[in-house]
């Protein structure tokens, strides 16, 4: 058993979108939908500002809300913790899209739901996901949470702070945001709006 996970160091990320473009080509993601995007948010008033650059994608939750709502079993969690899709079982009902709190899923024009799968085909060969490999700021770490020597475990231990997206929903994301630039953590979470 393993639990594949990713950590993104927001102190290093500049939001350049290299990861997003790499993903687009690696996974042949159609124009119009995305597996990976960058959300840049600024808070404060001139000249006291904080800008957070935050790549977002499927978080491969430990308690993924998208999986139980799938009527056909096409959405499932692999033994290594990657939340995956079997396109040939998908009826396109979009229940999983509705259930995802992170807007990570989209309907592929070929009629099945798709999303980030941590580049499982690369992981199978011992490679890193395309977004991790190309990132010029080295802000991404990937690996097995159960292995204390994996990149992601080391990055998590070394982080000044670790944040989760929408922790209130209890989804248990396995994509961790490290070293958020704002004192209170990730911007745009409930309770910090319209600041």
């Amino acid at each position: 058993m393993s639990r594949m996970a990713m950590a993104i160091d927001l102190a290093a990320c500049v939001g350049c979108a290299a990861c997003s473009v790499a993903c687009k080509h690696e996974n042949e993601v159609p124009i119009g939908v995305n597996r990976l995007w960058i959300r840049n948010t600024t808070i404060g008033t001139f000249p006291n500002l904080v800008t957070e650059f935050r790549p977002e994608q499927c978080l491969h939750c430990e308690n993924p809300p998208c999986v139980p709502v799938c009527p056909t079993g096409c959405c499932f969690v692999r033994a290594d913790g990657i939340v995956d899709i079997e396109p040939m079982k998908c009826i396109g009902c979009s229940a999983c899209i509705a259930a995802c709190p992170y807007d990570a899923r989209y309907m592929h024009p070929d009629g099945y739901v798709s999303k980030c799968d941590f580049c499982k085909h690369r992981v199978a060969k011992g490679e890193l996901p395309a977004c991790v490999t190309t990132c010029p700021t080295l802000c991404r770490s990937f690996g097995d949470l159960d292995d204390p020597n994996s990149d992601v475990s080391i990055a998590l231990r070394g982080a000044r702070r670790v944040d989760l997206l929408r922790p209130g929903l209890g989804t248990g994301p396995k994509l961790y945001y490290l070293n958020a630039p704002a004192k209170f953590g990730l911007v745009g979470e409930e309770g910090q709006r319209s600041s």
Binding site: S20, P68, P71, T72, I91, G92, A95, D103, L169
Partner: protein, 263 residues
């Protein structure tokens, strides 16, 4: 707070107008199944007619579902019946409709053990009636799909089908319209109050709903509320609550596809 994106998250609506038709048809189909069940249990003389209507509605609904599916030319739908996903509302709904279809068929044929068909219909019709609300309320991330829709949708579903029954001059239907309408109105008020008096996110959702079809929503509410006043006008008394219920249901499905992630 100012947000910019490189590439966009997948925030577009995932359910489109055919889904609204499905939500209308499934209300009718589920409701018809419930009526067939009651007719069967009370040995109503028209039970065969109701069973036939139920079958027609379920088949129509399934055709709609098939047409709107982006996967309609892959025979993947069979996987619904090859899998076991009791936590998936759509799986429950699919089984509910299928069981109701089969049971109705035998009721119409008047073949086989009545008790079995009755049992299957009780379970199947209940699932078919409840499942649309369940499919919405299951998404705790979408603030307009609160647990109240679990009651609101079956109520308005029954209101829809009974209005139609009234339109088709079924005597027993008339007396249910006003109570169902008023119960629906009450649940809509509970629904709105829950949003307006809820937390930050619920209040944002309330504002969002009001900003995206608030007037239409109010119209739907008024249409259901005036039912007791107009109940003596035959055709209108059926059409008004039908319209009201359909408007409210469609708006909740359509506008409710929002979530406030990153707002």
């Amino acid at each position: 707070m100012m947000t910019e994106f490189y590439a966009l998250p997948n925030t577009e609506h995932f359910w489109h107008w055919p889904t609204l038709i499905h939500f209308f048809l499934v209300a009718m189909a589920g409701g018809a199944a419930v009526i067939t069940t009651i007719a069967l249990l009370t040995k109503h003389p028209k039970v065969r007619t109701y069973a036939l209507v139920t079958m027609v509605l379920i088949v129509l609904d399934l055709i709609t579902l098939w047409i709107e599916s982006p996967a309609r030319f892959r025979f993947t739908h069979v996987w619904i019946f090859l899998s076991f996903a009791p936590a998936a509302p759509i799986w429950l709904g699919a089984w509910g409709l299928s069981v109701s279809l089969v049971a109705s068929f035998f009721v119409w044929l008047q073949k086989g053990p009545r008790a079995l068909w009755a049992t299957l219909l009780i379970i199947g019709s209940a699932l078919a009636l409840v499942y649309p609300g369940l499919a919405l309320a299951a998404n705790i991330n979408r603030p307009l799909w609160t647990p109240v829709v679990l009651i609101l949708f079956p109520l308005t579903g029954m209101l829809t089908v009974i209005s139609i029954a009234h339109l088709l001059k079924q005597d027993w239907a008339k007396r249910w319209i006003a109570p169902l309408s008023l119960a629906s109105v009450a649940m809509v008020i509970v629904y709105l109050a829950g949003l307006a008096m809820g937390g930050t996110e619920a209040r944002m959702a309330f504002d969002y709903l009001m900003g995206h079809g608030g007037l239409l929503f109010a119209l739907g509410l008024v249409l259901m509320a005036i039912v007791p006043v107009i109940r003596r006008v035959p055709v209108v008394a059926a059409l008004v609550p039908l319209a009201g219920a359909t408007i409210i249901r469609s708006l909740i499905v359509e506008v409710g596809q929002i979530q406030f992630f990153g707002f």
